[in-house]
């Protein structure tokens, strides 16, 4: 396992502050957060590639904070694959073997087979496709049998087809080898498919750490709620099972243990209704003015102003067709008490 304890990295104009992170043996852990939140810095500090200002890095229980990267056996795969352009595919993959005690032999052959790289072994790496290059980068990192594998957005630069293929490959590799993996990602689909636990980073600080379900369904802070796609996050005062959000009173499905906080609703859980439709059981219903409708591709987004609050709702193309003539007019919004998340 690998652990960061109160890890701080100070750079001019930016700081990672007191991050506590622990990835269990064999776990697939994801670190998510907006661009520039310090995710790559944390990975590089864990690998020993940058020196933390404060805090410790523990690898399998041993303090490795002052150990140089070459002594840690922590592999890293970057988004841009960082292949050595002057070496062939096989020389890239076997690059680290001279430093490992076990030598090469069957391990590399097995990796080439597993990752489908055998036919490419003599190729110049500059001629590879994005997916092939990333598989080579993965093979190169795995060839030295790292204790921990760090993946810095390994799929984000790939075409969708290659991305899915490599995602499946990563999942299979993790299941087969039981390797401890820490991945930085922006893609929630990837995270939900691969990771067992997730940490959310915001401006160099950890906002929340937990299971995938916790992060995406039960965000602990307004930032995490917004980051995981709950676009309707509002400050609220709680009285019993009621949340007072601006001028709106929303019925909740449980009594919050505090007097004030936030409520968060996923945009796909807030329904836009034409006026006059029946209220469903357990549903909050309130009026608002339809401000506009935006085509997002497969789905549409409706913005509704209700009591000074800007609600974002995802709707189908069919529903959008019915609502477009009503832009600027009053509509009803509906949200079930159970779909209101309390923060």
């Amino acid at each position: 396992m690998i652990r960061a304890s109160r890890l701080s990295i100070h750079l001019p104009g930016f700081a990672v502050q007191e991050v506590d992170l622990s990835v269990a043996q064999g776990e697939f852990f994801a670190l998510i957060g907006p661009t520039g939140s310090g995710k790559t810095l944390i990975l590089e500090a864990l690998a020993g590639l940058i020196r933390p200002t404060k805090g410790r890095v523990l690898l399998e229980g041993r303090d490795v904070t002052s150990l140089p990267p070459e002594k840690r056996r922590i592999g890293i795969v970057y988004q841009d694959n960082a292949l050595f352009p002057h070496l062939s595919v096989s020389k890239n993959i076997t690059y680290g073997l001279r430093y490992t005690p076990n030598g090469e032999g069957q391990r590399v052959e097995r990796l080439l087979e597993t990752l489908g790289l055998a036919p490419l072994r003599d190729r110049d790496v500059t001629t590879l496709s994005g997916g092939e290059a990333q598989r080579v980068a993965l093979a190169r990192a795995l060839a030295v049998e790292p204790r921990v594998l760090l993946l810095d957005e390994p799929l984000s630069a790939l075409d969708p087809a290659f991305r899915h293929e490599l995602q499946v490959l990563l999942k299979r590799l993790h299941q087969d080898t039981g390797l401890t993996c820490l991945m930085v990602s922006h893609d929630f689909g990837e995270v939900m498919s691969l990771a067992q636990r997730v940490a959310v980073l915001n401006q160099g600080r950890l906002e929340q750490t937990g299971g995938v379900e916790d992060i995406f369904q039960r965000p602990a802070t307004p930032f995490v709620a917004r980051f995981v796609g709950m676009k309707n996050v509002f400050a609220a005062e709680f009285r019993g099972r009621t949340a007072q959000v601006g001028e709106l009173s929303l019925i909740l499905d449980c009594e919050p243990p505090k007097l004030d906080g936030h409520v968060a609703m996923r945009p796909d859980k807030v329904r836009v209704e034409l006026n006059g439709e029946a209220v469903r059981p357990g549903e909050n219903r309130f009026g608002g003015r339809l401000r506009g409708i935006l085509d997002l591709g497969p789905i549409w987004e409706a913005r509704v102003d209700s009591g000074g609050l800007d609600f974002c709702c995802l709707i189908s193309a069919e529903q959008a067709g019915r609502l477009i003539p009503l832009v600027g007019q009053r509509v009803s919004l509906g949200v079930r008490a159970g779909d209101i998340h309390i923060i």
């Binding site: 590639l49 070459e70 890293i76 841009d80 690059y95 190169r140």
Partner: protein, 265 residues
């Protein structure tokens, strides 16, 4: 059938005309000087052992200076390419100082620290090392004037190698030195060689600092100057042409070596 013409773009004409004027400005004097001496003048000049010695000394001392710049300038170039630190901009400007300072001043500066009374001068004297009028002094000033060219070229070369390659190399077990020699150097060597060529070129052409520190042993530029002032243009030209020819041959060879595979000279 009417012919159709593409209307000439005035900007294109401006570019071509300016380029032609500049190229003429560079090549006309050199061409004139190179064609002035007769073959007999050239042969006579080459038969003079002093001329051969001066050209050899110019190339030899400049080669030594370029080699010293490579060995001692490359680490600083790497540092400037890879590290951010307070005062870095100041240091980069300081590296460029020898380009800006009038070159006789460089000669005087070198002499001022190498003379008696200065701790360094005393130390050199203690070890029997003389600067004034020696190959040591000559190479010292050539290193001084050539270093910025090598350091800047090497720094640009190192900057062009993504630092992530070194990081990956280290994560795979390589030491800092291992990452440098197995990854960075093989990818940046052309820039380093380019820096050496620039340094060599600058050193071969140096006159101002050399004439202060080492009038003798005589390098080719000093000899050209001496012959020009003592005997006139006609007598100095063959030496100048020989220096140009030898330097040109050397640079063409080095440039060919430094070019990527398949690239034309």
């Amino acid at each position: 059938m009417s012919k159709r013409f593409i209307k000439p773009d005035p900007f294109r004409w401006l570019i071509f005309t300016s380029s032609a004027i500049i190229l003429a400005f560079i090549f006309l004097p050199l061409l004139q000087m190179s064609t002035d001496p007769t073959l007999a003048d050239m042969a006579e000049s080459l038969a003079d052992p002093d001329v051969r010695q001066a050209i050899f000394l110019s190339i030899y001392a400049s080669g030594l200076a370029a080699l010293i710049s490579l060995v001692f300038g490359t680490p600083l170039a790497y540092l400037l390419a890879r590290r951010e630190f307070r005062g870095k901009k100041l240091l980069e400007s300081a590296v460029d100082l020898p380009i800006m300072i009038p070159h006789p001043v460089i000669g005087i500066a070198i002499l001022s620290i190498a003379g008696a009374g200065h701790p360094l001068g005393d130390l050199l004297h203690y070890f029997g090392i003389k600067v004034m009028g020696t190959l040591t002094g000559l190479v010292s000033v050539l290193v001084f004037v050539g270093l910025p060219f090598h350091i800047n070229a090497a720094r640009n070369g190192f900057q062009a190698v993504p630092e992530r390659l070194e990081k990956v190399s280290r994560s795979l077990g390589s030491s800092l030195a291992g990452a440098f020699f197995r990854i960075t150097l093989p990818l940046a060597w052309r820039s380093l060689l380019s820096g050496v060529i620039m340094c060599l070129a600058r050193a071969i052409s140096e006159f101002g600092a050399v004439v202060i520190v080492a009038y003798h042993p005589m390098t080719a530029p000093v000899m050209i100057y001496e012959r020009f002032t003592a005997y006139g243009l006609k007598y100095s030209q063959p030496v100048a042409v020989w220096l140009i020819l030898v330097s040109l041959a050397l640079f063409v060879v080095l440039r060919v070596v430094s070019l990527p595979k398949g690239k034309a000279v």
